[in-house]
Symmetry: C2
Subunit: 341 residues, 2 copies
């Protein structure tokens, strides 16, 4: 993405931008010596007046940018691990930034990465982000971009996701097959596409199995924390005393539900079943262990880098860029928080 400007040439030679401009145009008030230096440098730096098409050759920074919503989240730390490992194995370094789910911060960080002239950007879109001009702008600049986990169909670029709809469908199907009939859903924020997809999977499997979808059983979590799980389990059970299962947006939320049930002497899974999402370490160590969906976060990070490097190489060769959507397989992991089928 490095674009050589008049300013760069001026700075290197320690002369004014006007002089560089005049020299390139062959003005007579520029000394022959200066003109030659400017021409030589412009040629070797591959300067193109009003350059839009950029020659990436020799201008790579071998650095890629990674913007994730939250570093301290097992899923994303695993993604970072995958990204850093795959990048390093291919000779690239990774600048990591955290948007904290804020649209404003996300925009600012993408600008910083462009200024930094990274060779490409990996992004999991912040929950708050609902319009995508800032991403369209990246594409206009021909900045290689790969979205992962939190993506949008609106932006035309490569993507790595899991099939959230299918994963949710399978998880809730397990609950239905084990005899649950009143399944609450503690879902993620409305803006988050994967939260929307999981919700869709939940609705679909209920309907296909003769259970009427009740929007009153769906609770919107503010965050993805253990505290959210406690809070909404309490609220849900107060409003619907006959809930017999919780399908939750993350293992942390599921853990909160579990803690609430444990403290209130409600037996898991005999009275209420609990399903999480992500297969975080937490889901394996709480008692009972939480049934959850494994989404191979390290693999997601590696795939995203791999698609990005492919795009960087393609652009370098000035070949037409193809976009790919890789959907990684998920695996439903049954533990003691759900009844045997």
């Amino acid at each position: 993405m490095k674009e050589v400007t008049l300013k760069d040439i001026a700075k290197i030679l320690g002369i004014s931008v006007t002089t560089v401009s005049k020299a390139l145009k062959g003005y007579k008030d520029v000394s022959e010596e200066t003109r030659r230096s400017v021409m030589m440098l412009a040629e070797n730096l591959n300067y193109k007046p009003n350059a839009i098409a950029l020659n990436l050759k020799n201008q790579e920074t071998k650095t890629i940018g990674l913007v994730i919503p939250e570093i301290v989240h097992t899923f994303f730390s695993n993604v970072v691990k995958g990204v850093v490992s795959e990048a390093e194995e291919n000779g690239y370094l990774v600048i990591t930034l955290q948007s904290s789910e804020s649209n404003l911060i996300e925009k600012k960080q993408l600008e910083m990465l462009v200024d930094k002239r990274v060779d490409g950007i990996l992004l999991a879109i912040a929950d708050e982000t609902e319009t995508y001009e800032h991403l369209e702008n990246l594409l206009k600049k021909e900045m290689p971009l790969v979205l992962f986990d939190k993506v949008t169909p609106t932006v035309n670029c490569s993507k790595v996701t899991i099939d959230d709809r299918k994963a949710a469908y399978e998880a809730v199907k397990l609950l239905i097959d084990s005899g649950c009939k009143k399944i609450a859903h503690l879902r993620g924020p409305l803006g988050a596409p994967n939260a929307a997809d999981r919700h869709e999977g939940y609705v679909k499997v209920l309907e296909e199995n003769g259970i009427t979808y009740d929007p009153g059983l769906v609770y919107l979590c503010d965050g993805y924390s253990v505290e959210d799980g406690k809070k909404y389990a309490q609220k849900a059970l107060k409003e619907h005393t006959d809930i017999d299962a919780f399908f939750t947006i993350t293992d942390h939320v599921a853990t909160g539900v579990l803690l609430h049930l444990n403290r209130n002497g409600i037996k898991v899974p005999e009275q209420v079943s609990v399903v999480g999402f992500s297969n975080s370490p937490i889901s394996q160590v709480v008692i009972p262990g939480i049934t959850t969906t494994d989404q191979s976060a390290v693999q997601m990070g590696r795939e995203a880098v791999s698609l990005l490097l492919k795009e960087i190489a393609t652009r370098k060769e000035k070949k037409p860029v193809e976009y790919f959507h890789v959907q990684l397989p998920t695996k439903l992991i049954q533990r003691a928080s759900t009844k045997a089928v």
Copy 2:
């Protein structure tokens, strides 16, 4: 750290290194035009033959490097979060790398960061690292360096740590005060300085409280995982049936111990008490909750950046560099895995 070389000049002008070298020395077989271009460029890029002292002005990359042993470890992801936040607030971007506790990888990554011309480096030393020439070399190059968490007294630079000795002392004191007499220690690797410090704290508090130190009660964990905890709890209880407490190197190891005790019907804390280290989320959600030491990882990341930026600024102003050792306070958090005092 940007050091202009003959090669850089040659590359920019599209001529050979030999020609650049000859031009700078005024050899007659170089054309006057080339000689002038080389001289002009060398002057403006501030080229110094065999430069050791570097002029950092205008050559900042506003990027810092961060090398940690393991990204997917709650303590370190919190450090990354603190580093990224503090750096960003000060206009710096962070390149994160993971050494996986390997000395070879650590060396390679530090070299990559130097090549990348970062303005400074933050490092938590890998457990495997036992000699420090690679760090001494960084200091010789005047690369600003701050060590954190896993540090060594051998290298003279700024450091951010907790007082591991004191934290371990306090944790084991709690066990003694609650009536425990046979306290096993599942410690970290021998090479890791903080594991050594915690072990020292353990030994000291035993001796000061009239309990003879028994090296047979100390088990060396290969890693820091839940699996290690299970494995060594089993081994320890087989070899010493009267162990009444475990002081462990991390909350994950403590969780493994807890799972082993739970599965074998051993009551915690009535029969055996368990103490972890770090106050990870896992320590809060297992049942019973694990007594542990909070070590404010985010704060550690922020402090490390703050010391690094101070050093970068001092070097830029060509003032003498002072090194600081910041010891962050820790807090012993009592939960249900230990008896009341």
